[in-house]
C-alpha cells in the first residue's frame, strides 16, 4: 500500500488494512526500544499507542504528511518512548537516527489528556457488553441509529437513543467516581 492509499483508507474509516500494513514496522521499533533499555512488553504497548495516535492524526483533514508515513510513525514511537522513560525518571536521550523529531505540540499530545483517555478506556470495559457494542457501532463504525436498533434488537430508534444516553451517563459517572477515589487515595 502506498502512503496516499493508507491515508485515504484511514479517512474513510477502513482502518484494518492500514493497521496490518503498518504493523510490519513493529520489529524495527521493537529492537530499537529493546536496545534502549525497554522490554518487549513496553515496546508493544508503545507501538500500539503510536498506531492509535497516527490514525487519529491522519484522520484530521488538515493533516499534511511531510515525510514518509513509516518515518512519521517511527517519530511518534521515539516521542512516546522518550515520554515513557521520562516518566520512569530515566533520562536516556536516545539516538534514533533518520527519524523525525516530534514535540508535544506537533502531536497535540498532552499527558493529562492521555491519562483521562486511558481511564475512559478502562471504564468502557466495565459498562457492559451492550453499551460497548452500541457505542462502537455508532461512534466507530458510524452506522445509522436505525440499523443499530435493528442489529441490537431495540424496540425502536428512540429506545436505542435513550439506552445510548444512559450508557453515556453511566460511563461518565463511573469515570468521575474512579477519578475522585484515586485523588483521595493520593491525598491520604
Amino acid at each position: 500500500m502506498k502512503d496516499t492509499e493508507i491515508i485515504a483508507a484511514i479517512r474513510k474509516g477502513a482502518t484494518e488494512r492500514p493497521i496490518k500494513f503498518l504493523y510490519k514496522e513493529f520489529p524495527k521499533v521493537k529492537s530499537t526500544i529493546v536496545s534502549h533499555g525497554g522490554d518487549a512488553e513496553i515496546a508493544k504497548e508503545i507501538f500500539h499507542d503510536s498506531l492509535i495516535l497516527l490514525i487519529e492524526k491522519v484522520s484530521d483533514p488538515s493533516f499534511i504528511l511531510t515525510a514518509k508515513l513509516s518515518t512519521f510513525l517511527f517519530g511518534i514511537n521515539r516521542f512516546l518512548w522518550l515520554n515513557e522513560s521520562r516518566r520512569r525518571n530515566k533520562s536516556i536521550e536516545i539516538e534514533w537516527k533518520d527519524t523525525l523529531i516530534l514535540t508535544d505540540a506537533d502531536l497535540s499530545f498532552n499527558n493529562e489528556k492521555e491519562e483521562e483517555l486511558k481511564l475512559l478506556e478502562t471504564v468502557l470495559g466495565q459498562i457492559g457488553e451492550r453499551c460497548r457494542q452500541l457505542f462502537e457501532l455508532f461512534y466507530f463504525k458510524k452506522q445509522e441509529m436505525k440499523t443499530i436498533a435493528q442489529t441490537l434488537n431495540f424496540s425502536s430508534v428512540d429506545s436505542a437513543k435513550t439506552q445510548k444516553y444512559k450508557c453515556m451517563e453511566k460511563a461518565i459517572g463511573l469515570a468521575k467516581e474512579i477519578k475522585i477515589s484515586s485523588t483521595n487515595y493520593e491525598l491520604k
Partner: protein, 326 residues
C-alpha cells in the same frame, strides 16, 4: 428525558462538525454561558475519542495476534480458485515429468511429488544446499554490487581478515556455513566510539561475495519472465545469530507489466514462495554476524532490513536503504 436526548444530539452534531457556521457560533455562545453544557461537551468529546481508541485497539490486537479477522467470502472464493490452479499445476508437473529447480526445505512439505528431487548436502544434513541441478539461468549479482557497494552494508570499514574464526554454534536452528572466506574480524577492534552497527563478518565486500555465491534467480520465475521485490526483516542477536526472519513480497510482476492482482497472486503463490525462499535461504545460511554494540561496548540486539530485487535484465540486486539503518 426528551430534552436530554435533544442536547445529546446537538452535542454530537457539534462535535462531528455537522452544524452550519451560524448554528456553530450560537452553540459556542451557549457553551460560554452555560458551564454545565460546556462540561457535557467535554465529557462527550473525550468519551467519543476513548470509544474510537478502544475499537482501534481491539483491531490492532487482532492484527498483533496474527489473525486477520476471519476470511471474507471473496477470500474463500479466490482461495478455492487458487486450489484448483494448484491442482492443475501439480497435474501439469507430473505429466511433464519436469524437475524442480531450487526448492528450499520449507517448501517441499506440501507439494511432494515423485519428480521433485531435493538433495541435502551430505556432510551436514541441517545445512541445506541447493538442488543437484544448477539452474540454467543464473544471474550474477556481481556488476550490480559495484555500483551500490556503499549502501550494501552497514559499516563502510573493511576489517582485516583473520585466519581463525569462531566455532559453529550447536543446538541452534541456525545453520552456520563457516568458511575461511567469511572470517570474523578481530574482536579487539577499538574505535574512538564503542557503539557500532551489526556487521557481516569481513565487511561489505565479504557480504557481497557471500550473496553472489548463494543467491539465485528462481528458474521457474525466470522461465515465465516474472520479476519480484522481496523485503526481508531480521534481527541480529547479541550472539550474532540471525533470527526472526520475516520476508514479504513487496512487488511481483511480469517483466515490464503491472503488479499482480489478488487472483494472479494466489495462482502464483509458488513463485512468490520461490522468491522468498531464495532470499531467506541466503540469510539462513549466513555465518555468525558481528553484533551491534552500544556505547558501553556491550553487544545488543539489532534490526536489519534487506531488499532483494530480482530483475530479469540486471539479475539479483540486494540493497539496504539509508533510512533503514539506525
Amino acid at each position: 428525558m426528551r430534552n436530554e436526548l435533544k442536547i445529546m444530539d446537538e452535542i454530537e452534531s457539534y462535535l462531528s462538525n455537522e452544524l452550519s457556521e451560524t448554528e456553530r457560533s450560537s452553540f459556542e455562545n451557549r457553551m460560554l454561558d452555560d458551564a454545565d453544557l460546556a462540561e457535557k461537551v467535554n465529557h462527550q468529546k473525550a468519551l467519543t475519542q476513548a470509544i474510537k481508541r478502544a475499537a482501534l485497539r481491539s483491531q490492532i490486537n487482532t492484527v498483533a495476534a496474527g489473525g486477520g479477522g476471519g476470511f471474507s467470502f471473496t477470500q474463500i472464493f479466490l482461495g478455492s480458485i487458487g486450489v484448483v490452479g494448484i491442482i492443475g499445476a501439480v497435474i501439469y508437473f507430473v505429466n511433464q515429468n519436469k524437475q524442480e529447480e531450487i526448492v528450499s526445505t520449507s517448501t517441499i512439505e506440501k507439494n511432494v511429488e515423485p519428480t521433485t528431487v531435493v538433495q541435502l548436502s551430505k556432510n551436514n544434513e541441517r545445512n541445506f544446499q541447493l538442488t543437484n541441478e544448477i539452474p540454467e539461468t543464473i544471474f550474477s549479482s556481481i556488476h550490480q554490487f559495484e555500483d551500490i557497494q556503499d549502501n550494501l552494508d552497514i559499516d563502510p570499514v573493511d576489517f582485516p581478515v583473520n585466519s581463525h574464526h569462531g566455532s559453529t554454534i550447536n543446538g541452534s536452528s541456525h545453520t552456520v556455513n563457516q568458511s575461511s572466506d567469511y572470517d570474523a574480524c578481530d574482536e579487539s577492534y577499538s574505535g574512538t566510539n564503542k557503539d557500532r552497527k551489526a556487521m557481516f563478518p569481513g565487511g561489505s565486500s565479504s557480504l557481497k561475495r557471500f550473496i553472489d555465491k548463494n543467491l539465485y534467480y528462481p528458474k521457474s520465475a525466470s522461465d515465465k519472465n516474472i520479476e519480484c521485490l522481496v523485503q526481508c526483516d531480521f534481527h541480529v542477536t547479541e550472539d550474532g545469530l540471525i533470527t526472526e526472519i520475516e520476508a514479504t513480497c513487496l512487488k511481483i510482476a511480469e517483466e515490464g507489466g503491472e503488479q499482480f492482482n489478488d487472483i494472479k497472486l494466489i495462482r502464483n503463490k509458488k513463485l512468490v514462495n520461490a522468491f522468498i525462499n531464495n532470499s531467506t535461504h541466503v540469510l539462513r545460511t549466513m555465518p555468525i554476524w558481528i553484533p551491534a554494540r552500544n556505547k558501553q561496548g556491550n553487544p545488543v540486539l539489532s534490526y536489519q532490513r534487506l531488499y532483494f530485487n530480482f530483475d530479469l535484465e540486471n539479475g539479483c540486486l540486494v540493497y539496504q536503504l539509508e533510512e533503514d539503518l539506525n
